[in-house]
């Protein structure tokens, strides 16, 4: 069961408090009318679905009800970071190792 750092509550919480809402950073086209059917279909349905780092949208439904983003490895399930909507991730597939060897995770109080 994942342990997820809610950037709003500032704490690690159990997965049960959250709802996963799929891939993050998929902006709604500003002018949908200008989209072809194919482009609109891509927006609605086509996803990166990577094996490795995935930027995804989560909602802290049982807590502060806020959405936020997470960078999670879909193979090891490690969460490298969570970050606010409207901000960019620090870890990306190009820029970061797939696994962290840090002994402490984000928000872990020791």
């Amino acid at each position: 069961m994942l342990h997820i750092f809610c950037p709003h509550c500032g704490e690690l919480r159990s997965e049960e408090e959250f709802h996963a809402s799929g891939q993050a950073h998929i902006p709604r086209p500003l002018d949908p009318g200008a989209c072809t059917d194919a482009e609109w279909g891509d927006y609605m349905f086509f996803r990166d679905n990577p094996r490795g780092l995935h930027h995804e949208l989560w909602n802290h439904v049982a807590g502060c009800r806020q959405f936020f983003n997470a960078t999670r490895n879909t193979v090891t399930y490690e969460i490298l970071e969570t970050y606010l909507i409207g901000t960019q991730p620090q870890f990306t597939e190009q820029a970061a190792p797939l696994t962290t060897t840090a002994t402490r995770e984000q928000g872990e109080k020791v």
């Binding site: 704490e11 159990s14 049960e16 502060c64 806020q66």
Partner: protein, 210 residues
């Protein structure tokens, strides 16, 4: 232009009022529990509950709230209280204000006056939720059976309040004194909570207080 429609929702007096635990018949259990119970339950019913929304980063908002309530905006996961009024952080732009029953109309007016011109929201939710106070030496065990949140005092000191999962639903837990906790329960789920708590506390002894 009126920005919001606010009206006195509580009848003057004499109207029949039922808390959400009325039909769970909590009242019928008063005084029927074990001696030296591990857990004592007390309803804090018919209080005024207001959901306040606004921009915490805007100093004018915090000042306005302070002006209206005499309370500082609490930071994440905390609760500030003065006499019978408490203000709790619910989210980065959301707070729960609990006032004695009947004051919510006046308080909402005061808040709206103090926050005039700001983008805010105040919503009376008094009929939809209430507090259930749990006290006694075994409350922590009952909470441990019910929520995956860490209720150890190291992590959950007095004055902290968190929204989390509880059994198969969600609520807010407030730690108000050493062995005293409050649950913020939604009306329609009250029956479920009541059954759940009775069950979870059975092995420690449960007493219901008026």
């Amino acid at each position: 232009m009126t920005t919001a429609n606010v009206y006195q929702q509580r009848p003057d007096s004499g109207a029949k009022a039922e808390s959400s635990l009325h039909q769970a018949n909590l009242a019928g259990l008063i005084g029927k529990g074990r001696k030296n119970p591990g857990v004592t339950v007390r309803e804090k019913k018919l209080l005024g509950h207001l959901t306040l929304r606004g921009d915490a980063k805007d100093p004018a908002f915090a000042e306005g709230v302070h002006k209206a309530l005499g309370l500082e905006l609490p930071v994440a996961l905390s609760l500030v209280a003065k006499e019978d009024t408490s203000l709790q952080w619910m989210g980065p732009d959301e707070w729960l204000l609990i006032v004695p029953g009947g004051q919510e109309f006046a308080v909402e007016h005061a808040l709206r006056a103090a926050l005039a011109g700001l983008h805010i929201s105040v919503v009376n939710v008094s009929g939809g939720q209430q507090l259930l106070e749990l006290s006694g030496p075994k409350v922590r065990e009952v909470l441990m059976k019910s929520t995956s949140y860490d209720v150890h005092p190291d992590n959950f000191p007095v004055g902290k309040a968190v929204g989390t999962v509880f059994a198969k639903s969600q609520l807010v837990i407030r730690h108000t004194a050493e062995d005293t906790w409050e649950l913020l329960i939604r009306r329609s789920f009250s029956d479920y909570w009541c059954l759940w708590l009775q069950d979870a506390a059975a092995e420690y002894g449960l007493n219901v207080e008026a």
